[in-house]
């Protein structure tokens, strides 16, 4: 071994030890006579010091080092006179007696720091340098820990890891396949799997009643932001199970991973039907970190907005809104921003109606001309609104309006800081429709499929 210790592990208790470290030069600081250098590996950073009066050769060599040189340094661990509480290794330094350059480095095209000065493209070109950055290392180590925890859980539940082939038959369903020409079968092609779906079902037929695989999948798609043509799936299948068994097993897996990797105990996952998710959140993957459920004003027997000659509401299939706590003082400018937000072509709402619930119990709305204060009071009651609340209401065709209101809800969640990074709110969504009608092609499509989740978070 080139080293006796890694760069993250020495502490005060090691003072006086003779050690050998190997790693990359993070930076060099020259204080006239004394010279200090940070040496980095994936475990951390140590500061090593050179005193020209004690060791002229090593000091001379250290002076010639650049960033990212690979070096080997031998010396003694010593207490620092000038301790750095920011660094885990900040109480000690190593007084170098011998220094070797294992390899020189060109000046890297960007700084190897958490806050790097390199742009996306540059960092992609030099991915091996980008991966030296601590945040990337932490992410890959995290991935490793998640995979370990997944395997530990599934192994404990008698799942068997079975590999399925990557060269398979092309079935031009679903997304586009990546194809591979076959040399031995001229003019014929394999496809790369979009998922091991049929293989895992065949493994069930074969009697391997609990199967899993952390497996690469391939889809030749037009790439949107944050999609990858090859991606990894935790693929699982069980025989002799009902829905309840599968939910229980994999809720257990997610809980186990969070506990093991993050030390977080997740509560039991609530369940919601697809219909309820669409009705209450306009979304089949609702963010439950905050409430702000849809309130429907025109539904079944209920119509709180009718007979007042306000056409956008009278003619709408759906009139619904959200109650935003404490935002009654939103200015004209704020409200204009939100109106522009819902009118974007992607959302396509025709406008936004607001009702401010004022401190004195009265209401101020963008539809005062049409609705009496009694009307507004009834509407506010439907929202369970209190003074200080702001009601935001959209109207139009159900599908588009639900989607726009869903996005508005998420936007308000962002604005009010309700989507906290440290909160985790998992749920099961159940009872999807099996088919949806494709009016253009005049036929039925299956709505739910193994790749469904890849639509997430795009």
């Amino acid at each position: 071994m080139y080293r006796t210790h890694t760069c993250g592990e020495l502490r005060m208790r090691d003072a006086g030890k003779a050690v050998t470290l190997a790693g990359w030069v993070q930076r060099v600081r020259n204080f006239g006579g004394m010279l200090f250098l940070d040496i980095r590996d994936r475990y951390g950073i140590h500061t090593i010091g050179f005193n020209p009066e004690h060791n002229a050769a090593a000091s001379q060599l250290a002076n010639e080092l650049g960033r990212e040189y690979v070096i080997l340094a031998m010396g003694k661990v010593a207490e620092r006179s000038n301790k750095n509480a920011q660094m885990p290794t900040g109480e000690i330094e190593i007084h170098v007696e011998h220094l070797e350059v294992l390899n020189a480095s060109k000046t890297p095209p960007f700084t190897i720091e958490e806050e790097t000065d390199g742009g996306d493209e540059l960092r992609m070109n030099y991915r091996y340098l980008d991966l030296r950055r601590n945040n990337n290392q932490q992410n890959l180590l995290h991935r490793h820990q998640v995979a370990r925890a997944v395997r530990e859980y599934l192994d404990s539940q008698n799942f068997v890891d079975i590999e399925t082939p990557h060269l398979i038959k092309s079935t031009p369903e679903g997304a586009r396949d990546f194809v591979v020409p076959s040399r031995l079968n001229p003019g014929q092609f394999y496809a790369l799997p979009q998922s091991p779906q049929t293989f895992k079902q065949l493994l069930m037929v074969a009697g391997y009643d609990r199967y899993y695989q952390i497996v690469r999948c391939f889809r030749d798609e037009d790439l949107r932001q944050d999609r990858q043509p090859e991606f990894t799936q935790i693929d699982c299948e069980m025989a002799f199970v009902r829905r309840e068994d599968v939910l229980h097993m994999f809720e257990g897996m997610v809980k186990f991973v969070f506990k093991k990797v993050r030390g977080i105990e997740l509560p039991d996952f609530p369940r919601m039907s697809y219909d309820d998710a669409m009705h209450d959140y306009g979304n089949d993957k609702p963010d439950l970190r905050f409430e702000m459920k849809f309130v429907h004003l025109k539904e079944g027997e209920t119509n709180l907005v009718g007979k007042r000659s306000f056409k956008p509401f009278d003619e709408a299939e759906m009139v619904a809104g959200i109650c935003v706590n404490g935002c009654a003082d939103y200015t004209r400018k704020h409200l204009d921003e939100l109106t522009e937000f819902v009118k974007r072509p992607q959302l396509g709402a025709t406008g936004l109606v607001y009702i401010r619930c004022l401190a004195d119990g009265t209401f101020k709305s963008s539809v005062d001309k049409f609705y009496t204060s009694e009307d507004l009071k009834n509407i506010a009651a439907k929202f369970n609104a209190v003074p200080g609340d702001l009601l935001l209401i959209l109207a139009g065709p159900a599908g588009r309006t639900g989607k726009a209101l869903s996005e508005l809800r998420l936007e308000m969640g962002n604005r009010l800081g309700l989507r906290r990074k440290e909160d985790y709110k998992p749920l099961w969504v159940l009872d999807f429709p099996l088919f949806e009608y494709d009016a253009e092609e005049n036929r039925w499509n299956a709505t739910h499929h193994p790749f469904h989740f890849l639509e997430a978070g795009r």
């Binding site: 992609m124 070109n125 030099y126 991915r127 945040n135 990337n136 992410n139 995290h142 991935r143 998640v146 079935t171 031009p172 369903e173 679903g174 040399r183 001229p186 049929t198 079902q201 065949l202 069930m204 037929v205 009643d209 199967y211 952390i214 790439l223 944050d226 799936q233 935790i234 699982c236 299948e237 069980m238 025989a239 002799f240 199970v241 009902r242 829905r243 599968v246 994999f250 993957k285 439950l288 998420l410 990074k421 985790y424 709110k425 009872d431 999807f432 099996l434 949806e436 494709d438 036929r443 039925w444 499509n445 299956a446 709505t447 739910h448 499929h449 469904h452 989740f453 997430a456 978070g457």
Partner: protein, 139 residues
């Protein structure tokens, strides 16, 4: 062209809707959602040939097309296929979500591709030489 691979079963009580209103049939399917992001999904599958054929027919495949494309699994269902179901999680996404809700999956892949599906470092995809093409019977 089918948009999906249709192996998901349906609630037995919805059987009658196949004739009357297929839009009302509920899938025996589930999604796991975390903070507004779908991290996994799956279903209880069809495990009988006649059910699977009914599904293919519903999706507009002729008997011949179904056999040509999925004959292997239709046949397998005739040799004692047990009831089964499963789930798949997007692992890259799962990793990004389990660490402080980070959203960019690319940060959790050692060597990702860019938005054009290119590996910038390797400069892939690239061309292949004439000899390779010839061997593969490509023009």
């Amino acid at each position: 062209m089918l948009r999906t691979i249709p192996f998901t079963s349906w609630r037995p009580e919805d059987e009658a809707f196949f004739e009357s209103d297929p839009g009302k049939i509920k899938a025996n399917a589930y999604d796991i959602v975390l903070n507004g992001v779908e991290i996994g999904g799956g279903s209880i599958r069809i495990h009988k040939r006649d059910r699977q054929e009914k599904m293919f027919t519903m999706l507009g495949l002729t008997k011949e097309e179904a056999l040509q494309k999925f004959g292997f699994i239709l046949n397998a269902f005739e040799f004692g296929a047990p009831p089964h179901g499963g789930i798949a999680f997007g692992f890259d996404r799962f990793c990004s979500m389990t660490i402080a809700n980070q959203e960019n999956i690319r940060d959790f892949i050692a060597f990702p591709k860019n938005n054009m599906g290119r590996d910038m470092m390797l400069d892939a995809p690239g061309t292949i030489d004439e000899k390779q093409k010839k061997e593969l019977g490509l023009k």
